[in-house]
Amino acid sequence: MSDLLLDCRGITKRFGGLVAVNALDLQIPAGSIHSVIGPNGAGKTTLFNCITGFYHPEEGEILLGGSHHLEFLRTDEITRLGVARTYQNIRLFPELTAVENVMVGLHARLESSLLGVLFSSPATRKEERWATEEALRLLEVVGLGGKGDGLASNLPYGDQRRLEIARALATDPKLLLLDEPTAGMNTGETASMIRFIRRLRDDLDITILLIEHDMKLVMEISELITVVDFGQKIAEGKPSEILANPRVIEAYLGRGAAEALDVRTAAAAPGAAHDATSDADADAAADTASDSGTPPGPEPTSSAGSQPDPVDEGGGSA
């Protein structure tokens, strides 16, 4: 891949004694879908915060499009350069309506002057009309058509996640950072989110950087995966490579799982990568289910049942 959209070189972010991100390199080619995975507290969100200017890394540099040094810029300047994001804990403007939330996202693209606003100049009126229409259109795009006039805080959870994406799209991003976009969604919603993210890249040409815990989604959608643990990059590669990487499995699923999986991947080694995917996924699901104490009942089965369809899709596009 030739032109890098985002190039993070050796970024380090400390909180007191804690090194949340440790000399991390990350290269995102334009037009790719790239995932960052890692256990809880690995530093994924902190990485996003460094890229978007919420935190300034102590070391390293972040280059956008080869020329802009993001590490020196303020959040609003970074946004204006075409980097938008969503948040792990949804952060909408709760007391504004959905349309207004999106219109705030359009802020940087509007240029009416104070005088134009005060005297209601034709240019301002035209721009406001455009902004309203554009906001409504973006709501349509994320599937929230007709829900624009309710307060953001009154939308159901899944709709709030979509609204956050609509608001991010309103800034006209080249690079979109999604922090666990399917957290709290059911399998149906997750499947449509996968299709939606792919459409963003395919139709709108937006490069996607994604944090996800849902392994199925990650394996299916990502072209490249970066695995982070304790702030450090421990592996990077295609989904099949990541799944076969014992270090990843150890960090991510725990030692026991790594050994169990080792046997199986060895056995299935000659087969297609798809098989490895579904195995690992089922294992991961079972693992998290037993970890969190929920009875391993219909959940893993149903996710396994819905497997073929999305995997086919993934195979088609890859």
Binding site: D76, T79, R80, E95, V99, E100, V117, S120, E128, L136
Partner: protein, 612 residues
């Protein structure tokens, strides 16, 4: 008996009675009952029937304390409601009301009994014989020396009030509400008698002054007039929903077309809106001519507070930056005009400018001051911001009062001899003596020098500016800032310029308000620019509805206008503020006229509860 006591009627009555009694003691001992008693509402309440009775007239003081008991009885009855019920069972409700009244009444009754034997004035300076007379219907003076009859009369009256309050809750809700509206109308009309008296055109217009004479005696309303008014208001309220529903039904079809809040209104709606605005504008222009000097003076003050309210509404309501030193900009506006225009040879700069020449400088200085305050607080939020701005407000006041700046700002003596903005000769009325004079009065110099019109113009301009900004990218940026500063920044909003714009706009509004204030009064003193002004403005936007432009108008009328009209309230202003704020925060936190979005959400919620 047990049927009467069901649902814990006795317990409810006891508790409500204790609360009600405490309220009665409070309003009595702070002196409200006595002060309000000077304002009669209905004269000779019972007509000739009441000749021998101690109740000669209904005054506002009685309304305050008997009303508290009555409302407690009402509340007791409501507490007996089962879920989903409209009306409680009659027996227990009336019993609870009676117990409430008895318990509540026992407290003032005891106060009278004690007060006539011991001198309580050392502890409560308002515990005076006059108060005891009011609480016992005069029986302390005229009754038996032991005071037992006064004691019993007070309790009896309160039992009656409690039972009546509970009985009101037995009426069907629609009737109950209509009665409430009727009573409120009578109370309001009775209370504003003085004000009506001062309105010029009422006096000048034959039918209006006839109506006034028919409705009012010299002191309070005619009982018959009050009864008719009550009937009329209640009746209107009963039929109004039918009319409103019909109108809604007609309009509902248009709304159903799925608009989303800021959708452009239909052509008809727009004409209606413009007609309404035009009507209000005409009324406001006519106001000083029709209503005369005193009401116009009150409106001047309300207008100045509206200006400040609109400014602070931008800073606090839109942008969410809590500014407690807002009076600083008001002071800067006033002192700029004072220094530049005063004709006093001892203070100021002897420029001898007019208000109009000074105004551009007022705008400039307040923008600068807004930025000067804004820059250091860019990184602070919430409580810290509030404290810093509070300090800023005090700094300006202390500068004004300081000896060092006395040659410019006059120190504690302030600046006097600020000229009036207009100095026009009297325009002779072309139609003196004919009906037009009744309508617009005489264009006398008093009115021409009035600063009413500049204030009106400034208010309209400020409201327009607020409204334009609110619906622009700047307004949205402010609201995003208010909701979540970090995320707002991540939307590409420049926090520095956005905050500074809010501070500067707010500062200019207050500065112009201060300039007009100085020109209106002709003299300014540092004491006029204390913390209380900032608090007043903040209270009025909270009461009106945070972030709501019409709310500022409503809030200013309620918080500045009303107390100005009801001079008796002056002493209790802060107490009433506190009470109003507590009640507002509990019952109507969104304000009297909330911003459009809030209104819509509330509507939606109430729709949702009606149609599950």
């Amino acid at each position: 008996m047990s049927a009467l006591l069901e649902r814990g009627a006795a317990r409810v009555g006891l508790r409500r009675g204790l609360i009600g009694g405490a309220v009665v003691l409070l309003v009595s001992l702070v002196g409200m009952v006595e002060a309000f008693a000077k304002r009669s509402i209905v004269h000779e309440l019972l007509g000739p029937l009441g000749a021998g009775l101690p109740i000669q007239l209904l005054d506002l003081g009685q309304v305050a304390w008997i009303g508290a008991v009555l409302l407690s009885g009402f509340a007791a009855a409501r507490e007996l409601l089962d879920h989903g019920e409209d009306r409680p069972p009659a027996g227990p409700a009336l019993l609870a009301g009676g117990i409430t009244g008895a318990v509540a009444g026992a407290m003032p009754a005891l106060l009278v009994l004690l007060g006539t034997r011991f001198d309580l004035a050392e502890v409560f300076d308002k515990a005076r014989p006059q108060l005891y007379a009011l609480l016992s219907w005069g029986l302390v003076e005229r009754g038996t020396p032991s005071g037992v009859d006064a004691f019993l009369a007070t309790i009896l009256m309160c039992v009656l009030a409690g039972v009546v309050g509970a009985a009101v809750h037995l009426m069907p809700p629609a009737h109950r509400k209509a009665l409430g509206v009727g009573v409120l109308t009578v109370l309001v009309m009775g209370t504003i008698q003085d004000l009506l008296q001062k309105i010029d055109f009422v006096e000048r217009t034959a039918w209006l002054s006839g109506l006034y004479d028919a409705l009012y005696t010299r002191e309070g309303m005619e009982p018959l007039g009050a009864a008719l008014l009550l009937a009329a208001a209640s009746g209107l309220h009963l039929v109004a929903p039918g009319i409103r529903a019909a109108r809604e039904r007609r309009r509902g079809d248009a709304d159903a077309a799925g608009d989303y809040g800021d959708a452009p209104p239909s052509a008809r709606e727009r004409t209606m809106r413009w007609l309404g605005l035009g009507g209000i504008a005409l009324l406001l222009i006519w106001f000083p001519f029709g209503f005369g000097k005193v009401p116009a003076d009150v409106m001047d003050l309300v207008g100045i507070y509206i200006l400040m309210g609109l400014g602070l509404n931008i800073v606090v309501g839109f942008a969410g930056l809590l500014d407690l030193g807002y009076v600083a900009f008001f002071a800067i506006g006033a002192y700029t005009v004072g220094i530049l225009t005063t004709t006093d040879p001892d203070v100021g700069l002897q420029f001898g400018w007019s208000l109009w020449q000074a105004l551009p400088l007022v705008v400039l200085f307040t923008i600068v001051a807004g930025v000067i305050l804004g820059v250091p607080v860019l990184k602070t939020h919430g409580d810290y911001l509030a404290i810093i701005t509070l300090g800023f407000g005090e700094i300006i006041r202390i500068l004004a009062i300081s000896d060092a700046l006395k040659p410019f700002m006059g120190g504690a003596q302030g600046i006097t001899l600020i000229p009036k903005p207009f100095d026009l000769p009297e325009i002779p009325m072309p139609f003196a003596g004919n009906p037009s004079e009744a309508l617009i009065g005489r264009l006398n110099p008093g009115i021409q020098q009035e600063i009413y019109f500049p204030i009106l113009f400034a208010v309209i301009a400020a409201a327009y500016v607020s409204w334009r900004l609110r619906h622009s990218r700047f307004g949205r940026a402010w609201m995003a800032l208010r909701e979540d500063e970090n995320i707002a920044e991540a939307m590409g909003i420049n926090l520095v310029s956005t905050k500074l714009l809010a501070f500067a706009t707010g500062a200019v509004f207050a500065g112009i308000g201060g300039a007009l204030f100085a020109a209106k009064l002709g003299s300014i003193y540092p004491s006029s620019f204390g913390l209380l002004v900032s608090i007043n403005v903040l209270v009025l936007i909270i009461v009106g509805g945070m972030g709501s432009i019409p709310g500022v108008f409503v809030g200013a009328l309620a918080i500045v206008g009303l107390p100005e009209l009801l001079r008796e309230f002056e002493d209790f202003r802060l107490l009433l503020y506190g009470a109003v704020l507590v009640v507002m925060m509990l019952k109507r936190p969104e304000g009297l006229w909330p911003a459009a979005i809030v209104q819509r959400e509330l509507q939606r919620e109430s729709d949702a509860t009606v149609l599950p």
